[in-house]
Each structure stands twice: as structure tokens, then as C-alpha cells.
Subunit: 329 residues, 2 copies
């Protein structure tokens, strides 16, 4: 039976630093992303791909505001569903482009992620989204649409929304069915469309779910073996920014939790990733990896990297006693 | 073994005449749409839902132009994928809202539909899309983006694109897998993202595939039993606009082809629907239905409608000899 890896790719993987986000730029970046996924398919892994959508949903929000005099702006959660269609298509086309003949099929599922209506995050919206506004614009949008707006880094006012915890993936059964049929599945893009349970079904809510937490929730729901969090750096660093700074090659859950408690991993970057990895393992996962696209395969398989001297970070439930096993698995 | 129906819903089913397209309007319309689908689920049909996207992709195109000074406009086929995410989410949430307990799951698949690069439609772009422009704007956009623009009904200039024939559905296997697992599948929305085969995979092309033709292609690929084309009127009319005008309750393929040849069905409305129905039956389908949302169930099952005196149009391969069978199936 093939093993399943849920691979989460950073929001900036498709629109990189300094790029404006043309289709051609995103297409080229998606091709690089697809290559990294195909390295797993070749060795028999089933893959679910979770992508970020930060730059794309930001662009969409700007377009919605610019066109607001002519056509109604859609709610934030609907913009999230739109980027799932947009990037799901882009990534599936890229997988077809580079994946043949390993890919039986690639399919993008518009995914809804349940959150709790009483998640404390709703009392403290903190995630800035969309364009910057002047104080006057911000006040008027706040009054007209019920937005919470906050001053952001001296550059103006932005809407802020809650970032609640994911508690379930509505499409889990459909995604599992597709994986079992050999499909590569693109799912929970941008953290998924946030929904809450109502008396009659589900309702969309304007919030942003952390993509890495959504990927963990999906990996846990699928009982996947591996959670791979792809980022811009090769590995998690200890004592970051000090003379003792060093990469972590492998750590056990308990070590990771100790480092988290010690404040080793900043909240804006590695903190949520390490926390997602730990939660995945505590809920039954086998291995979590945090690394750059180039090192995904080597880090997951525990083989020697082709890039000499570089290494990704593996997080495992318990580290084997030295000498007890030959390889790292 | 359950039978499969591919149900195509008109582009105006979610944004009706006179509506601007707020989320709330579309949500209410989607709920009505979902009710009509659930009437089929209750009697054991497997359902694939194909929705139109005309008003939504039109709104998106306007927003892209209005925001073009700030963020790059995406190509038309990417806008199509965005409306698949948007409306797929909307429709799945509506299905969950009204479908319980008949719905095991509802899932939206971002669908790519293959067209031939040498389809003659590409030599004669005829489908207007997006906003109206002045002659100067049109000339400048044409030069900058390679658009074909045409004067449209005295109201200004619009971009026109090709409307090629669908020749295959990339996600057929995934959709079949989901149907077999009992999911209601939303697919090929807006006719699907049009793609052409290239030496290295697929590439998106700016075109609009007729939603009814895409639904027929999907129904044929899935070997579905029924194709249901939902529209604003109860039935197909013969001798439309004359004193002899009368609804068609049932016709055989050969009759439909004769009427098509006689010019009974105008190209802008019933013509493509009847042609899609005939093609579906010629390629092995059992029954095609053209009717309003309220009459879908009665027309498909061949039972007496609850709305007295109204009837949908059924198209079958061969009509049974009168008296030879008890029911219409």
C-alpha cells in the first residue's frame, strides 16, 4: 500500500519576491513546484498538494475594490474559493506538463475547512489582507461592510480578519477516494474556504486559515504518513541569529516541543510550521519534514542530498537509539 | 447499479435577470438549484452538475480591467478556472444546505476541457465576453493584448473569442471515481477551462466552450444514462411564434435531427441544446431532457408532473411503438 504525503507549499512559491503575478510568472513557478512533487511520485508516494494563496487573494481583493463601483465585490471567503480554482488549474496543468508518465491523473478539489464559530481568534482579528487604504477610506469601508481595519506598518490601513484553527476538512472522503484511485490531489489551497456549521449546513466566514495548519488537519484526517512543509530555507535553525546558529537535521516531538517552549522558533515564520509538524505526529503521523523545494525528496526519504552539505529538517515521533537502525527510517 | 445524470444549468440560474450578482443573491439562487438536484438524488440517480458562468466571468473581467493599473489581469481561461472555484464552492455549500440526508458528499472538481487547436472556430471568434469599451480603448487593448474586438449591438466594443467544440474532458477518470463513491460532483463549470494538447502537456487557451456541449461531452465520456439541459422554459416548442406553436413532450433522435434541419430551433437558444441532446443519444446515451428546474424530475422519470398541464421535453433514441410499453421508459 502506497504511503501518502501531504505537501504544503508557501504562498510565495507561485508569485515570488519582486514579481507582480502575471500568468506567465506563475506558470513558470508552478512548473518548478511540480518537479519537486514528481520526485515523490516516482518513488511511490501518493501526494496531496496544499498551496498558499496570499499574493493571489491580495491581488483579487484589489481588483474587487477597484471594480466596486461597477460590480459587487464578493466576500473574502468567496475570493478564497476563486484562488483555489485559479491555482488548482495552474498547478494541475503544471503537473501534467512535467509529470508524465508518473501521473495517472491530477485533480484540484475546491476544499472547505471547518472552524469553530467560538474560536477565540474571532475576538481578535489579526491577519491583514488586501490593499492599503487611507484613514478615510478605511473608516467608510468599516462602516459599510463591517470590516475591522487596523493601521499596518506605517503604510496605511488594512482590513484584518481572524485566523482560526481548522477543525475538520469537509471534502476528506472525496480526497481519500481520489488518492486511492492514484490521483495527485490539489486541495485546501490557501488554507481552504473557512466555513462554520449552522443548523442547516455550512456557512462561509471571512477568515484566513493558516495553510500549514490546514495541511496538518488534512494530513491527520487522511491518516497520511508524512506532512511536508516546504519553505524558503533548507532547514529549521537552532539559536537563530547567534554564533551558535545550526541546522536541525532530525528532532523528536518532545525535543521540538521543548524548543517551542524555549521560544526558539519565531511566531511569524518557523513557529507555526514546527507546531503543525508536532501536532501531526502527536495525532498519529510518522514523519514531518520542513525544508526547501529542492530538498523535499532527500529529506523525506532520509537519503543523502544531492546538494552537498545541505540538509532538510525531519521531525519524528521518537528518535531511534544511535546504532539501533541502519537508515533513518 | 445507480444511473448517472449530467445536469447542465443555465448561466443565468445563479445571477438572474436584473440582479447585480451579490453573494447573497447567488446563494439564494443556488439553494433553489440544489433543491432541483436533490429530487434526483432521492430516487437513486448519481448526479454531475455543470453550471454556466457567463455573468460571473463577465463581472470578473470588469474587475480585472478596473484593477489593471495596480495588478496584472489574468488570461480569460484563468478567469474561467476562478469562477469554477467560486461557483463550485457556492453550489456545494447549497447542496449541503438542502441535501441532507441524501447527500453522502458534494465536491467540486476544477475541470479542463480539451479543444482542437485547429478548430475552425479559432478563425472566426464570435463570442463576446467582458465589458464594453470605447473604440479607442478597444484599439489599444487589441494592440497590447492581441485581442479581437468587435462592435456589439450599438453599445460599444467588446472582446470576442472563439467558441470551439469540446473534444475531451481531462478529469473524466477523477469524476467517475467520485461518482462511484456516491459523491455529487460539480464539474466543467462554465464549459470548463479550455486547453489544447501541446508537445509537453496542455496549455490554456482563451476561448469559451458552450456549457451544453461540454455537458454532453462529459456525459458521453462518463457513459452517463441521462443528459439534462435545464433552461428558462418548460419545453422545446415546435413552430415557435406561429399560431401552430406547441410543446414537444417526447421526440426521437431522427425527429429532432429533421426539426434541426428544418430550422425549427434558433441558433442562439434551443438549437445548441437540441444538438447536444442528439449527439449524446447518438453516442450511446439513453435519454436527454430539456426543461425548467421545476420539471427536471418529472421529465426525467417520465412521471406525471405535479404542475398540472406543464411538461418537459424528452429526447430518446427511438420512440416506443404506441401501446408496446406501459411507461415511457
Amino acid at each position: 500500500m502506497a504511503k501518502t504525503a501531504v505537501v504544503a507549499l508557501g504562498g510565495n512559491a507561485l508569485i515570488r519576491e519582486g514579481q507582480s503575478g502575471t500568468y506567465q510568472e506563475q506558470e513558470a513557478n508552478a512548473t518548478a513546484m511540480a518537479r519537486s512533487v514528481c520526485s515523490l511520485l516516482r518513488t511511490g508516494w501518493r501526494v496531496v498538494l496544499v498551496h498558499g494563496n496570499g499574493p493571489q487573494v491580495g491581488n483579487l481583493a484589489i481588483q474587487q475594490e477597484e471594480g466596486a463601483a461597477l460590480v459587487p465585490a464578493q466576500p473574502l471567503f468567496a475570493l478564497g474559493s476563486m484562488t483555489q480554482g485559479q491555482l488548482g488549474s495552474l498547478i494541475c496543468l503544471a503537473l501534467h506538463r512535467v509529470g508524465d508518465p508518473w501521473i495517472i491523473g491530477a485533480v484540484s478539489v475546491v476544499t472547505h475547512v471547518a472552524v469553530s464559530a467560538d474560536d477565540p481568534a474571532f475576538d481578535n482579528p489579526s491577519k491583514p489582507i488586501g490593499p492599503f487604504f487611507t484613514a478615510e477610506q478605511a473608516a467608510s469601508l468599516s462602516a459599510a461592510r463591517g470590516w475591522v481595519v487596523k493601521e499596518d506598518s506605517g503604510r496605511g490601513y488594512r482590513r484584518v480578519v481572524a485566523s482560526p484553527e481548522p477543525v475538520g476538512i469537509v471534502e476528506t472522503a472525496a480526497i481519500r477516494t481520489l488518492l486511492e484511485a492514484g490521483q495527485v490531489v490539489v486541495a485546501a489551497g490557501g488554507g481552504g474556504v473557512p466555513i462554520v456549521r449552522t443548523a442547516t449546513g455550512y456557512a462561509g466566514v471571512d477568515a484566513v486559515i493558516d495553510k500549514d495548519y490546514a495541511a496538518q488537519q488534512l494530513a491527520t484526517s487522511l491518516a497520511a504518513e508524512a506532512l511536508v512543509l516546504v519553505t524558503g530555507v533548507e532547514s529549521v535553525l537552532l539559536d537563530y541569529g547567534t554564533p551558535q546558529q545550526r541546522p536541525i537535521e532530525e528532532m523528536a516531538c518532545a525535543e521540538a516541543e521543548r524548543y517551542l517552549a524555549d521560544g526558539q522558533f519565531p511566531e511569524g515564520s518557523m513557529g507555526p510550521k514546527v507546531r503543525a509538524a508536532v501536532r501531526f505526529l502527536r495525532y498519529g503521523g510518522e514523519v514531518a519534514v520542513i525544508t526547501s523545494p529542492e530538498l523535499v525528496y532527500a529529506s523525506l526519504e532520509g537519503t543523502v542530498s544531492q546538494l552537498e552539505g545541505t540538509v532538510g529538517t525531519r521531525i519524528v515521533r521518537v528518535r531511534p537509539t544511535v546504532g539501533a537502525v541502519g537508515g533513518r527510517w
